[in-house]
Symmetry: D2
Subunit: 220 residues, 4 copies
Amino acid sequence: MKYLRLFLYTLSILVLTSMQIQKPFKVILFGDSITQAGVRPGGYITLMQESHANYEMIGAGIGGNKVYDLYLRMEEDVLNKKPDVVVIYVGVNDVWHKQTSQTGTDPDKFISFYSAMIRKMQSAGIKVIVCTPAVIGERTDFSNSQDGELNSYSKIIRNLAKQYNCTLVDLRKEFLAYNLANNPENKESGILTTDRVHLNPAGNKLVADLVMKTLKSVEN
Amino acid sequence: MKYLRLFLYTLSILVLTSMQIQKPFKVILFGDSITQAGVRPGGYITLMQESHANYEMIGAGIGGNKVYDLYLRMEEDVLNKKPDVVVIYVGVNDVWHKQTSQTGTDPDKFISFYSAMIRKMQSAGIKVIVCTPAVIGERTDFSNSQDGELNSYSKIIRNLAKQYNCTLVDLRKEFLAYNLANNPENKESGILTTDRVHLNPAGNKLVADLVMKTLKSVEN
Amino acid sequence: MKYLRLFLYTLSILVLTSMQIQKPFKVILFGDSITQAGVRPGGYITLMQESHANYEMIGAGIGGNKVYDLYLRMEEDVLNKKPDVVVIYVGVNDVWHKQTSQTGTDPDKFISFYSAMIRKMQSAGIKVIVCTPAVIGERTDFSNSQDGELNSYSKIIRNLAKQYNCTLVDLRKEFLAYNLANNPENKESGILTTDRVHLNPAGNKLVADLVMKTLKSVEN
Amino acid sequence: MKYLRLFLYTLSILVLTSMQIQKPFKVILFGDSITQAGVRPGGYITLMQESHANYEMIGAGIGGNKVYDLYLRMEEDVLNKKPDVVVIYVGVNDVWHKQTSQTGTDPDKFISFYSAMIRKMQSAGIKVIVCTPAVIGERTDFSNSQDGELNSYSKIIRNLAKQYNCTLVDLRKEFLAYNLANNPENKESGILTTDRVHLNPAGNKLVADLVMKTLKSVEN
């Protein structure tokens, strides 16, 4: 009887321990409408979650968000949820809204808010992965009207990644490479996006693959 | 001897109490370049300070700031300094930068950041006074190019004042009234501003008078 | 016999004269999408034509046109058709497109093209009637975002009317007056427009009435 | 005596013929502030004139001009002067003013005015040379904010050149090549421009060389 007890006790310890080991790795995907759509069926977050049960993927995307909108809701949507990793995917609206509503974000302000966000997350012990904004228009001959701006804001993010030692998912670079290989007709959309900005199935697949690969690299 | 002690003790209590009474009323003026210039000789903050020694007037204005920039530095520049009152004077750049650099602030974002700021300050026990953005151009015939926007953002601030029970300094209304009385030639600038936006001596005097009057009303 | 001849001669003179009287007065309505829609059933041009058979009303409106677009097609669409009167109704897109696509028209260029157009038409013996741009948004509290710009461009047109002795249809003034009387809830649209800019039935009726009244005054 | 007459006759024919041969080839340089500055000492037009006395180089550049401004003054500044060749150098402001004053030119309007201009000039027997807009910012990593737009409008001009059989001076391509070779530090300005847009001595030299080479090719 005594041995049975000991055995059961040992067993339960082992089970609890293994449960703790299997406690999922919590990832928050923090971004704009692209990330908001990422939790839909076929979305990039859904794709990652479906193939990786040991991760808890939390979509925290809101349409129209710029870097300062993420900052405003960071405490509630990120810090309070104590994730292991945050993937920040922002910048498209900071550029795009200059053209659509004269309400883009100045580069120096983009840097201030992005830096403040990284610092607060890292202080809370969260690993931060940053993504460059992929595309506004998929033409490969550098004639999408905001290519210059997107390249400039992507450089800012690459520099922030170095400065704060964050892992980078260089979506801008990867999307261009994909389009150079797969968009011989120099189309505006339809290769990785439905509408020059939002992801089609191929786009969701590409982002899921790139983010997932990076998540695995930072986990270890 | 015993009575002398008691007398001295009582006296010192009285002195300390009166000192406490005279501890200055701490006011932070929180805003953009207009407020940054307010601490210069002749500036609106300087004018208020010079005539009211029982107040401690702290200028916290930074050129180019919009509502979200104030939010970003609120903790350091306001909350940590534990003022009795904060006067928020922001909105000009939120409108103006739409035209100058396509980086203005959308109305819904303006409301979100402004509200968040008021709530955090009020939670910290600080009285909040809000100002409407005065002018971008002083013409009185409603032909300044951003009059419509300024009127719209001023309405937002008036509504926030009601919603959060903040005292309002309606600079936009007062500047228009002053110009209707003093700008018969419908000039763009030179009446209350040097350059359509920043205050000249008459402008600094008007703002100082209006803010001071409001400060006295909230103090009691 | 002699009397019969005289009678027939007199009769034919009368007939010829009356024919000349009935040669329709040719009017070209020259403008943007508002005028393009004016020739539809219920449109302002259709309304005028239906009630005035002695006028030949020709709609020459093209969507998205600004003052320089009118200038480009003036020879083909106006001068070559030898109208008695041209009603120029332009300016909304010159202002609006600043916000929607950063492709508005600078005030000095607006004046250059408008003046050149008036001069060429008047040199061709055409009477020119000019209209101020009515509204972009119908709110009556001066908070439509481009009210300042519309007021400014309307002033330009009023000045051009004086300078070149053109008759003015001050739609901007009349629309505001109508809205002050009929828009107590300060709505953005639905009073004279369907969408802040394009005319609903009441708007078409108002423009038809105002333009028709002016046409009658210049005809004599 | 008879021989003297014949001799004098022959001589005068020769003189007249040679005069005719030496009648300068008339070139109008038609553009914006870059061309306006081209007639100053060291400017690209001055450089071409100084080294080629057999050409009459006429600068017709006005600061701030866009394609429609050229169209407005084409009759007076070009057609009436009956040049042999016109070099059109426009497009920078059509793009740039989108950012600086929300008054750029839509691509479809750019095409309409440019085509109309080419057609009228060619109908008047004038040879038309067209230039792509060189740069707004000299960075070579495609991060100048309006690179996308400039590339897009340059494509439009290349297509118009083909369509109307005009000779092309592809300044955009040549400036990029020069910067790739001479701007290793990825500077914004100072290589071919003083201020991201207007030509410094090296820029004037490069434009003079490229335009001159093209002029020689069309002359024959």
